[in-house]
């Protein structure tokens, strides 16, 4: 696990969720106010996906199998 303690792990989950919600909230004004928003939206989506893969799905377990 990314966090060494249970409470640390649970707190990390909240932080990741808040980041994801903020990024999602950012997408809406970008889509409606910024001209040609596709590159910005794609960048936000890639950050979203990385957060989920890294912190929720523990992607690094694949090359650190002792976790």
């Amino acid at each position: 696990m990314a966090a060494p303690t249970k409470s640390g792990g649970l707190r990390l989950g909240w932080r990741v969720l808040i980041a994801l919600l903020l990024l999602t909230a950012l997408e809406v004004p970008i889509a409606f106010r910024v001209p040609r928003p596709l590159p910005y939206l794609l960048l936000i989506n890639l950050i979203d996906a990385w957060l989920i893969l890294q912190y929720f799905m523990h992607l690094s377990q694949l090359w650190r199998p002792e976790e």
Partner: protein, 188 residues
């Protein structure tokens, strides 16, 4: 230790299961990549004004929140806290069901504005339908894991079914992170 015994050693078995699950995610990723790219191929950056933006962002929030509860279920069982794990699994199941209700509402509105014969309708129903099927299968998986958990079948040393089902749930979330802007937000 001979090769067969080594393959079935617990640590090796877990590594093999994880690798297999990630290969499955990659193969499924190609499916969704093809569907998402078909949206841009057929429609370009066109976005209908009739889309219910509030509902779209609402169900996105629900799915993101369900990823937190799924994550907490896995963390809890990794530390041997089965009751908290079960509570979080149940919350994930309920949030998944709520997401599906939201998709149902979305569909009810979408039928009026862009039916499946329409070009946007075809893309909309295919993408949300395929993703909804994955959410439904995730909910079924989580219900099975939850019921086994309530019978005390998992502990801190052996909880692969929880980990596998939760990872699948996060995967479904990652896919939606790309589907949501593809359907609701992109515009020229």
């Amino acid at each position: 230790m001979d090769a067969v015994t080594a393959l079935h050693a617990p640590a090796r078995r877990l590594r093999t299961r994880r690798a297999g699950l990630w290969l499955f995610f990659i193969s499924e990723g190609f499916l969704f990549l093809a569907l998402i790219s078909s949206r841009y191929y057929l429609l370009g950056l066109f976005r209908p004004a009739e889309l219910n933006q509030g509902l779209g962002v609402g169900i996105t929030g629900v799915l993101l929140l369900s990823s937190l509860t799924a994550y907490r279920a896995e963390i809890s069982i990794a530390w041997g806290d089965l009751p908290r794990c079960a509570r979080n699994l149940l919350a994930t199941i309920l949030l998944g069901a709520l997401f599906l209700v939201g998709v149902g509402l979305e569909w009810a509105e979408a039928f009026a504005y862009f039916p499946p014969g329409d070009r946007f309708g075809t893309i909309f129903f295919t993408l949300t339908g395929m993703h909804g099927l994955h959410v439904l299968s995730g909910v079924v998986l989580l219900v099975g894991v939850y019921l086994h958990g309530r019978r005390g079948r998992y502990d801190a040393k052996d909880y692969w079914p929880v980990e596998g089902a939760v990872k699948y749930w996060h995967y479904v979330d990652v896919v939606w992170v790309f589907i949501y802007p593809t359907l609701y937000l992109v515009t020229p």
